[in-house]
């Protein structure tokens, strides 16, 4: 068994954990932004699917991963635009629209895939990694964390960018106010609708990017329903993190590591039914909730559309 767990293998497991964590991280960060601004974005799964599909289409036809990420983010934004229009601007129920968008994009992307790719199943070449010198030579950790596509480092940097945004900028204050007491933001002269729209569109961009990463790097191809609930996990992560981007990162990595752990246990030949092993990440989160769950401080106006001058 010791031979099995070679450095290379452990490195690959951890690499896989990070790769699996990135879409969750992006979805979680995106959802967090919406929630901060008071919008419960249940449509994020749909945004990820749109991002995955358009991201793949962009990368496949242009041959450039970066263009793929761009089109993917744009796909997410397109779906977010509908959400912003319906839920933020005219105040329709966020859960109805969110679920409807998720259902719709599941169907639409599957439909498009059917007509476009279901005979050829095109696959992208491997994403070229940006190897970080020195750091990547550390055993296990090096190959796990420092041999990824540039977008991964950008995603990690984004965590700290978000942190800065929330803590040290006027926009951060605006977002928080939009979620906690939109009327107060409004009378301070900031358009609540605009602020929330920005938040939702950003969510779309991040979720779309997450989807594009999932398709282009995570899988290297697009197939229907590829997001497999990653968006819903993003919602859970965002709520668990209570407004702190770094916690989203930890949560996403925890999920990734648990996923890799299930592979590790199987490869080690531990004879537990895989279904039992695969409950692990969810169990981990549930246990965390039971132990540290206390009163989750969600924004006071979460899910409530804002309309000026009503009471």
């Amino acid at each position: 068994m010791t031979g099995l767990f070679s450095e290379v293998f452990l490195g690959a497991l951890m690499f896989g954990a990070v790769t699996a964590a990135i879409p969750l991280l992006l979805a979680g960060l995106g959802e967090q932004m919406s929630e901060k601004a008071g919008v419960l974005n249940i449509g994020i799964e749909g945004m990820m699917l749109a991002g995955a599909y358009l991201g793949f289409v962009g990368a496949f036809y242009s041959g450039s991963l970066w263009l793929g990420f761009l089109t993917g983010a744009a796909g997410g934004v397109a779906v977010a635009l509908i959400m912003a229009l319906l839920c933020v601007r005219i105040g329709l129920n966020q859960i109805v629209i969110g679920i409807a968008l998720t259902l719709g994009l599941e169907g639409l992307t599957a439909l498009l895939h059917h007509f476009q790719f279901s005979r050829s199943y095109p696959r992208l070449p491997a994403a070229n990694a940006t190897v970080i010198p020195l750091l990547s030579d550390i055993p296990v950790i090096g190959p796990a964390f420092f041999k990824h596509h540039l977008i991964v480092y950008l995603a990690l940097a984004l965590v700290f960018g978000m942190r800065y945004l929330y803590r040290h900028t006027q926009l951060g204050l605006n977002l928080q106010a939009a979620g906690d007491k939109p009327a107060a933001l409004d009378v301070a002269g900031i358009d609540v609708i605009k602020t929330r729209t920005i938040a939702v569109l950003t969510t779309g961009a991040l979720a779309g990017l997450g989807g594009a990463y999932l398709a282009n790097v995570g899988a290297g191809l697009f197939i229907p329903f590829i997001s497999n609930g990653a968006g819903f996990l993003g919602i859970v992560l965002a709520m668990l993190a209570r407004g702190r981007p770094v916690w989203v990162l930890f949560g996403a990595l925890l999920f990734g590591v648990c996923l890799s752990l299930t592979t590790a246990m199987q490869v080690a030949g531990i004879n537990i039914p895989t279904d039992v092993i695969q409950m692990l990440p969810f169990l981990a989160v549930m246990i965390m909730l039971v132990l540290f769950g206390r009163r989750a401080s969600l924004p006071a106006a979460l899910g409530i559309p804002y309309e000026r001058g009503t009471r």
Partner: protein
Amino acid sequence: MFLRLWAFMGSLSSLPGADTCDIVALAGVTKRFPGIVANDSIDLSIRPGEVHVLLGENGAGKSTLIGMLSGLLQPDEGRILVDGKVTQITSPRHALALGIGTVFQHMMLVPALSVAENLLLGGPWWQRPRIEALEARVAKITRSLGITVKLHARVSELSLGEQQQVEILRAMVRNSRLLILDESTSMLTPKGIDELGTLMRRLVKQGLAIVFITHKLKEAAAFGDRISVLKLGRKVGEIPPERFRALGEQEIISQIVDLMFGKQKDDPEAVERPIRKVSVEAAPLLQVTDLAAAPTDNAPGLSSISFDIRPGEILGIAGIDGNGQKQLAEALAGQRVTTGGSVRLEGTAIEMLSVGERRQRGLRYLTDDRLGEGTVGTFPVSINFFLKQVGAPPFWRNGFEQRAEIDKRAAQLVREYDVRTPSLKTPVARLSGGNIQKVLLARELAEGAKVVIFNKPTYGLDLANTLASRQRICATAARGLAVLLISTDLEELLSMCDRIAVIASGALVGTVENVDDARTRVGRLMIGLAA
């Protein structure tokens, strides 16, 4: 700077009756809500160098008017003129840009942010919040006002009074040339009210225009230059500055009462305390001994609170807002966990009982947070009368709602307590503050009450409603009930209570019989001296 200078010059040249110098003028402004005309072709002129007092009963349409000035609401008809030009105030941002700063009746601060962050809200989004610059500005303003604010405290940790100061400060920081204060004195101590009054006088001298809404006529008379009175959405009268200056306080008040209620009462706020006989021998209805509760993030704890109330007695709790009044009320009602002490109702200990069980035994609590916890805003008025009796006959039988029974009784209560509502089905949040309060009064005074806790029962009520409420409270005591009356309004306590206890930092610092020199003795206790 330039604007201020201009305003200042304007105020110098302002001659009575010269319309040209209005900062803001309303011409025939009408605003309708479903089922109600909240403002009915109102004309109003607001001038630099004047405190323009708006008076009117609850629901008269004062806040609605303010809403249109501050860009929250759009008039259905009529025009608003700013600096003589017809202007559509399209958004709060627009209003701020025009120099209109508003302190709203309901708190408009973000609880989760710090005071500084709240003051900074509204800056350009790409900027870092400029805390240093703000600190300097705030220091300058607070020095001239003689108040202190904790810039780095979270708003949720401040008392309501402190929050109100922050809101006033915010309007000042913004360089407004028109400052609107909607019932800003309702949460302040008498001293705070005086300070605010002085401040207003100083500001108008500097050339600002102020619109000041209050229900207290004395404040209107003391701080105002011009008074407009609204009634049922219509403007029913105005006292211009020249008349104002010519009259004494008493005359002004009687004129206003004329306008608001027709000729009925002389000095409405000086109610004579009816002499009730509280029999000293009677066993206390409510006995509280050494009650204690733990402090929380945003509230002081309670420590060794003891008092008795006998049947027919009104015990007042005076004190500066945020000293544990609400915690005391909640601890008695069973909504807050206590850490020690006992509460006895008619001799039986009730501190272990739940909220519902305490109510059943006759303990009633009239909360000061009408919309937050007192009512369910989206439910009809009728249901809100019975929120605390859900499941009880005759309104429910075998668990089933008896709609006819409910509506019959609700209609009766609406009549009895003079609740102004379009219908029994109207969601209660649509009513104005005073009318919601009537619903709560009706609910708590319903059959079976023995001890009633009133927490700021007249906060935000207009004169007529205040008087009516006070009368109800006195009548309650007269029926032989024990009353605990929590208020920040010393006049109110002096006019009604048999004894007044003073609370400070969650402890009772003394109890005073309400005779002759009670005012000074309570005052001394409140500012931390021995009685």
